[in-house]
Amino acid sequence: MIDLKNINRRRFMGLAGMTAAASMVPWKVRQALAATPLPAVKEEDAIIGFGHVGPISDEGWTYSHHQGLEAVKAAFPKAKYLEVENIPFSADCTRIYRQMVSDGANMIFSTSNYGDLIYEVSDRATDVAWFECDGRRPADNLSGYYIQHWYPTYVVGIAAGLLSKTGKLGYVASFPVPSVFSGTNAFLMGARTVNPNATLQAVVINSWFDPQGAKQAGTALADNGCDFLFGIMDEAAYLQVAEERGIWAAMWNTDIRRYGPKAYVSSIVLDWKDYYVEQVKKRLAGEWTGGEETLLPMGKGIDRDAWGERVPADVAAKADAVRDKMLKEGWSPFVGEIKDAEGTVRVPAGHRMTEDELYNWDWSIEGVSGLKV
Amino acid sequence: MPASPSPRPIVALRGIGKVFPGVIANADVDFDLLPGEIHALLGENGAGKSTLMNVLTGIYRPDSGAILMDGKEVAFASPVEAIAAGIGMVHQHFKLVRAFTVAENVHLGWKETPRLASKSVLEARTRALSERYGLAVRPEARIDELSAGEQQRVEILRVLARQARVLILDEPTAVLTPAEARVLFKALRAFKDAGNSVIFISHKLDEVMEIADRVTVLRGGRKVLTETTENCTTTKLAQWMVGREMVLGGLREAIVPRSEAGRIVLALDHVSASDDRGRKGLIEVDLPVRAGEILGIAGVAGNGQRELSEVLTGIRRPDSGRILVEGVPLDDPSPDVFLELGVGHIPEDRIKSGIAPSLPISDNAVMRAYGEAPIAHGIFFSPKAADALAKQIADDAAVTIPSLRTPIRNLSGGNQQRLVARREMRIARLAIVAAYPSRGLDVGAISTLLHYLIDLRNQGVAVVLISEELSELFDVTDRIAVMFKGRVMGLYETKDADLERVGLLMGGQTQQTEAA
């Protein structure tokens, strides 16, 4: 649970100057530490490692990071690259990163948050620039980065509220982690702006990639009367369920509408290219310092996908109007009063949730069921 | 033996040699098997009889020499090829699938087995074969329900069904009653009369004289001679076999007469016990065993002897009744209790329960003494002390062993038996139960073993000797009990007992049925 009282000192420092939201630039949850930058590296001497949680062929999360790597390769063709897929959440992760270091990597991107399993190596490999996606423990040589996915999620949530007839939204969740809480909450908040009675039921399947589990969860949710499925999965299983059942679905990561063109509404799509290229450029130039936590904003790293073929124009227009407001005015819907699932007020009236709070959201709002820490 | 100069041998072995590490098993052995003869292969344990036959049937490859069949040189790579060429062997330890029925075993791995045949078809075919060869078997019975004699008939039937021209039998009568042996001999003669040949491996002189046309004697891996049985006597055979004057007598003389009966040290009181299949194995048995006597248990194998020996040593718990030691009933008759009391046990099937074949000789030799000094010190076990004891037991048993660290399965069956016997005698302060101790042993070894038992008896130990050899029982026992279908049919002083009567009781014939 995150509230202002519990934010530690370092984090509090990071929050300073965050009141004026300008969502067109990457949001720094925490600024780079004032450490000495790592020395410059010649492009031909550079070795850049990427470690992924899933297979590149997943057409989802890992694929999007791989696209980022391809962009880096195009920008710095003389550097050498190491890329490892399917890294498990076990000591093998530590071993793989250790191996990258011993292969001479100058820069390593972990595209998932392995936490200690990375720090075990990164703390001892201080001349390597480390990146941990969705990481929350920066160090002099390690930066975290993520996306402000709650904004496009809210936008798609509005479309869901308009499209759902039953007002019951289903969510296929991986783990009860902040990404999932902020996703479900933003989604339902968007839907409730057009259908105040909408509710969201989540099913946790304990995996990011489990087509069988996702399919079962999707089916169960549809059986419960949900006519709009959303979730955070690296594959398209529940989209296919929605297609078969003639209901709606919104996805994550990439455009995978071909698995269910009729059911497809939109997707929370990722784009890491600019961020990666920029970071590598800094590292090579000798300007890189760690300790940052960056959240890529909507329009520059995260967005909603082009609307599905069956999404009525007025629904799209209504949702996009809100998106424009966010992009142009820096408007945020995440303003109190917000109650949690037990009815307790967690965000006082008038308080605009900070990006840090959104990023670390770990409680469900009223109307969300099936998610518990 | 017909005198015709040289009918071509059906099988001829020429100069066969086979060496195992440290042992010459066969050296320059010639052997001819003529059509229409029963040819006995006689020799002590370790004389090389089994090795020679294993060479013939393709289990071993000879180091030198040649095998000719019908005059042509052959080499079988496996017993399967040998049987295809018409040579079938029935081993001492049966190679049957215990969980299968008789019919299934007969048809297993046989090219004439009809595909997709139902159980009843297989059983009908087996019944037909059984009648054709005069070997009574129960086609529907499972192998593990059968007595050793029945199992042997199944093995022989298996071989004969595959149209064998040459039948090799390794110690076939070791597991048979006299009556069963007679049935076997009859079947063998019929087989011979049809122009086929039999190789009969044995160390029993009487039966060699009875059944064989010719006999080849092996000693120390070499051939001593081949002779027609007409020109042999048992004395001559024994001399050739052991290479020295061998007297089987002298047993009676060794028995020290007693003026009065010893006290009862071990007794069964109305004991009933189940066998492994949960059927009645022992029924209401009363059996007192006295100190300083040899009590013989006569009977055809499979009539409760196994259960009796196991109940008497704590391996099997009785369902009802009491076991008394020195008049005191045992609360918890478990093997360690009997070990503590000083009851030795030479088990019926040493490979199954008497030894651990894969463990070193040393570990096997100390099975009864590992828990006490000098081998055990507190929780520790001294391999050195174990080796010392094993060496002593091996020396006492007159078994020469290459290394105490080699697995005991590398020893011959006879040597294993000698070690087990010595090991058990060491602990037998109160009593010893010896089940078929002479099974698979040669004349010399049997004599030695029986003398051991007599010595124990003379020292005041109670000896229970389970045997099928009536002559053996009449030679050495003080009293004889006869078992039939789990019951003790009668208990006699040996000097008053009548061989004929005991034989009838073994067949289940009591006075009443005789009268009827």
Partner: protein, 350 residues
């Protein structure tokens, strides 16, 4: 006449080893060939594996950290194999050991040395507890231990997933799907290699010594070689079976404890890394010998480490898995082949 294969039931160790070396080399050769066709420089990869596993600090650390759990799970399976039983549940016992260790580490406070000792015994107890039901079922109802131990793996996995993502979920650093960091740590002695490695290496030696130099060891050897003979010798076979199975579980549980306290420091879903199942492979490689576990686990650790190296060299996990499988398959084939000898019909000499 054609050549024939004849099977002999017993194989000498030298013969078995030769067959394995041949199988191993063949598997490597085939793997290299396929990689070569796919455009990889097999020789270079091979050199990388050797140099990086054995020739660098990081490589040796990694090797040691892989070796540690494999020694213990391999031993756990071997211990039961001495009784003629298969512990397919070492993975579950590993999880339970890790689970109990984490529970104590997270919720009890105390001086570190004391806590580590407590965690060690608790981990062992956790592993033993997890095999208790299969043990009793085996000892008193003859229920097949292969099935029961295997099925409990899934229960243990789900339990760990549940606590790691649910009640014990890390609320401090937000690490996905794992518990908070256990504050007590096995001391390191070589980079990140901790003293658990020494414990793991000592365990098979201790077990081998116990088998040979204790009464209990003799009874276990006899009970394993022939339970009927052991019963005949007055040994309480059932009690030995129970202690051996519990010991096996405890050893796997210690592997889980060391993985938490020495290597990962948190409890998480994938923490066993299949070490329990790999322990079965190690035991097969070791051919039932406790000391053979030291060699078998080393080979397995080397293979796993090679897998890591190959991944950073651009091979996918599937290719690495296929290579590992290939080596195992050829080893199994070699083990079978060792039983056969080629018999050539002799030329007529008579």
């Amino acid at each position: 006449m054609a050549l024939h294969f004849v099977r002999s039931p017993v194989v000498s160790s030298a013969r078995a080893l030769t067959a394995r070396v041949i199988g191993f080399v063949l598997a490597l050769g085939l793997g290299a060939l396929v990689l070569g066709i796919a455009g990889f420089d097999s020789l270079h990869l091979g050199r990388q594996i050797i140099v990086k596993s054995l020739g660098s600090q990081f490589g040796l650390e990694d090797l040691g950290l892989l070796y540690t759990p494999l020694l213990l799970t391999g031993l756990a399976v071997t211990v039961m194999a001495r009784m003629g039983l298969w512990n397919i549940g070492a993975d579950g016992q590993f999880y339970l050991g890790a689970f109990v260790t984490t529970a104590i580490g997270l919720f009890i406070k105390g001086p570190e040395p004391f806590m580590l000792v407590l965690m060690f015994f608790a981990g062992a107890a956790g592993g033993a507890l997890w095999i208790l039901v299969p043990t009793l079922a085996k000892a008193y109802a003859k229920v097949d231990e292969i099935i029961t131990t295997l099925l409990l793996n899934f229960v243990a996995l789900l339990l760990v997933y549940y606590v790691a993502t649910g009640p014990w979920r890390d609320r401090v650093s937000g690490t996905t799907a794992s518990t908070g960091r256990v504050p007590y740590k096995m001391p390191d002695f070589f980079g990140s290699l901790h003293w658990g490695f020494v414990i793991a290496l000592a365990a098979p030696i201790l077990f081998a010594l116990a088998l040979r130099y204790t009464k209990w060891g003799y009874e276990v050897r006899l009970s394993g070689a022939n339970p009927d003979a052991a019963h005949y010798a007055g040994i309480p076979v059932r009690r030995r079976l129970i202690t051996i199975m519990l010991l096996s579980g405890a050893i796997a549980g210690i592997a889980g404890m060391l993985e938490v306290a020495g290597t990962v420091h948190r409890l998480q879903g994938g923490i066993s890394n299949n070490y329990g199942y790999l322990g079965v492979m190690v035991a097969v490689l070791a051919r039932g010998s406790a000391l053979g576990v030291i060699a078998g686990a080393f080979l397995m650790a080397l293979i796993l480490n090679a897998g890591i190296i190959l991944q950073t060299q651009g091979l996918t996990t599937s290719a690495v898995l296929a290579l590992t499988g290939l080596i195992m398959l050829f080893t199994a084939i070699a083990d079978q082949f060792a039983h056969y000898r080629l018999v050539r019909p002799r030329a007529a000499t008579a």
